[in-house]
């Protein structure tokens, strides 16, 4: 069953040709394309049909939904939230209970091979998935069932992408990112805690406009938003280069806006667009607001040492008693070998001295 075209839907809502052209230019820019691509995007927008979206939530906090709902780019959020007919979204939809589940199954059936599946939250696998069930079905079963006929699968937030906070040690629910479960499918990961709204909406838009997934890095993130580290684009980078570091959250260096590396900033190994896209209409991002990057777009960020421990520090180190035990074992071995050597030398020397005694007799 084909949906109406995007342009038709906008016309029906009374959006003028001028606004449509503006939207095309904004979308082209947001997708990181050059100005010469505007014509292509406009042509595609006129041809493309609205895409139904099924948005599943498992072990999550709905923070990524909050994030995309507060996207400051009205064209894109409107495209994703209104134009793309989000057919199933537990936080946003009015339907509830069996009615909602029936609607999800109807969409899966009617738009098989056409709908986009967006997943927020990790999937518990311990104890037969009893820790997250919806309508009597486990998250894992729901995910596999819904992913089967999806045209594209997008994991938003660190939980869906890599397991996130639910996967933090000791991971009591056996939480996993969805690409660990959907091993035979391509999953686009938009990690973050929450994910940057533009990264989510633009990735969905990319698929809608071009009909294909964007270029991804080796852990499934769109390169357009995850090509560079936060450190690469950080406004405090010159202080890092000059060796000017805040030593505590209330010293002069901190007040002067110096680099937060020593306060635990994980920017050097964190691939995300925070430092360039920023948040809240490009107002700021955590480091600019004075907090070190916690590396929330990286796998297992919750278990990467303390948030306020410098990144270069080891993740595991011997305690003082353990170091003393190692030194003691080494010393005992050294003493043992020394004694054994001396005894060996004495034994070697004894026969010789006996022969000497005999000779002197």
């Amino acid at each position: 069953m084909a949906t109406e075209k995007i342009y038709e839907a906008w016309q029906r809502k009374g959006i003028s040709r001028r606004d449509f052209l503006k939207a095309g230019a904004i979308i082209t820019a947001a997708l990181g394309l050059s100005a010469s691509e505007v014509d292509k995007v406009m042509a595609l927008l006129q041809e493309r049909h609205r895409v139904p979206v099924i948005w599943l939530e498992f072990q999550d906090c709905a923070g990524c939904t909050e994030s995309i709902a507060r996207s400051q780019n009205p064209t894109l959020s409107s495209l994703v939230l209104n134009t793309l007919t989000i057919e199933y979204h537990e936080t946003l939809m009015a339907a509830a209970g069996f009615q909602a589940e029936d609607n999800r199954r109807r969409i899966m059936q009617d738009y098989r091979g056409e709908y986009v599946l967006v997943v927020e939250g990790s999937v518990p696998t311990a104890d037969d998935g009893v820790y997250c069930t919806i309508g009597g079905h486990s998250a894992e079963d729901l995910l596999k069932e819904t992913a089967e006929g999806a045209a594209a699968i997008i994991a938003v937030g660190n939980c869906a992408a890599y397991g996130g906070i639910p996967k933090a040690k000791p991971n009591p629910t056996g939480a996993k990112g969805i690409d660990e479960i959907l091993t035979d499918k391509t999953v686009v990961n938009i990690p973050g805690c929450p994910a940057i709204p533009e990264a989510m909406s633009n990735t969905i838009t990319h698929f809608v406009v071009f009909g294909e997934l964007p270029e991804l890095d080796e852990i499934g993130r769109p390169l357009a938003y995850y090509r560079n580290t936060v450190h690469d684009r950080c406004l405090k980078r010159p202080f890092y280069e000059a060796g000017k570091f805040a030593e505590s959250f209330d010293d002069e260096g901190y007040r002067a806006g110096w680099c937060l590396f020593k306060l635990g900033c994980k920017g050097p190994t964190t691939y995300n667009a925070c430092a360039s896209l920023k948040w809240n209409e490009g107002t700021s991002f955590p480091i600019q607001a004075g907090h070190p990057c916690i590396g929330c777009s990286q796998p297992n960020f919750w278990d990467q040492g303390g948030f306020y421990t410098a990144q270069s520090a080891p993740l595991m180190e011997p305690s003082l008693p353990m170091a003393l035990i190692a030194a003691g074992v080494g010393a005992a071995a050294g003493a043992g070998v020394t004694v054994a050597n001396r005894m060996g030398k004495k034994k070697d020397a004894e026969p010789a001295s006996q022969e000497e005694e005999k000779a002197s007799e």
């Binding site: 080796e218 852990i219 580290t229 450190h231 890092y240 280069e241 000059a242 060796g243 000017k244 570091f245 590396f261 020593k262 050097p268 190994t269 990286q298 796998p299 297992n300 278990d303 990467q304 421990t309 410098a310 990144q311 270069s312 520090a313 080891p314 993740l315 595991m316 180190e317 011997p318 305690s319 003082l320 353990m322 170091a323 190692a326 030194a327 003691g328 074992v329 080494g330 010393a331 071995a333 050294g334 003493a335 070998v337 020394t338 004694v339 050597n341 001396r342």
Partner: protein, 230 residues
Amino acid sequence: MTTLEMLDFARGEFFYGALLFFIGGMSYRLVQVLGLGWRSDRTAPKKSQPLGVVVSFLRGILILPFIPWVRGTFQRQPIVYIAGGLFHLGLFVVIFFGTAHVMVWRDLLGSVSLGFAWPSLALPLVDLLAAVAIVAMLVLLMYRLTHPVMQKLTGPADMLNWLFVFLPMITGYLLTNQAFLRYEEMFLLHQMTVNIMLIWIPLGRISHFIFYFFSRSIHGSEYAKRGAQV
């Protein structure tokens, strides 16, 4: 296993094991050296032995390196002397005053340092000294490979000594300057080579960076006892 998982292992379990091996191994070596013993000498000391130790360190670390021309080693092999000196200076500054390393020390010594911490030096200075140390290492390697006497003295262990120090140096330099590989990939190589070096140190001659202080102390004390200059 992804790069990030390997990095977690290198910064976690592997580092933990390598550091314990290093501590145990150095303790083993030290006890063995002490176990060799030395002859008892009952003659009365001609000079103050504690002073002899102090003089020994002052001359060895603070004075002679800065007036090298008084030493025969410098007069005979100035390039080796200068390259060796610059290498040790660069290595010392990088290990103890590079920002990332200062944070490692703070973390490692956290439970025993009672909050004591020293500041790091500016990155450009540390970076320059690291580059100087790397070049010095290459000069020393060329000398070792080309000098006829050094060729005869060089065995596989000497080459491994050089390699296990050079690899952490070059990966650390490239990591700081974010060259060739992604940050976490170079971080992984750096951490792995550091771990390997930690395991190698008790097995080879790099252990002199700790034993130097013992031998310097013993020599200072013994020389003073006999009234000789160190």
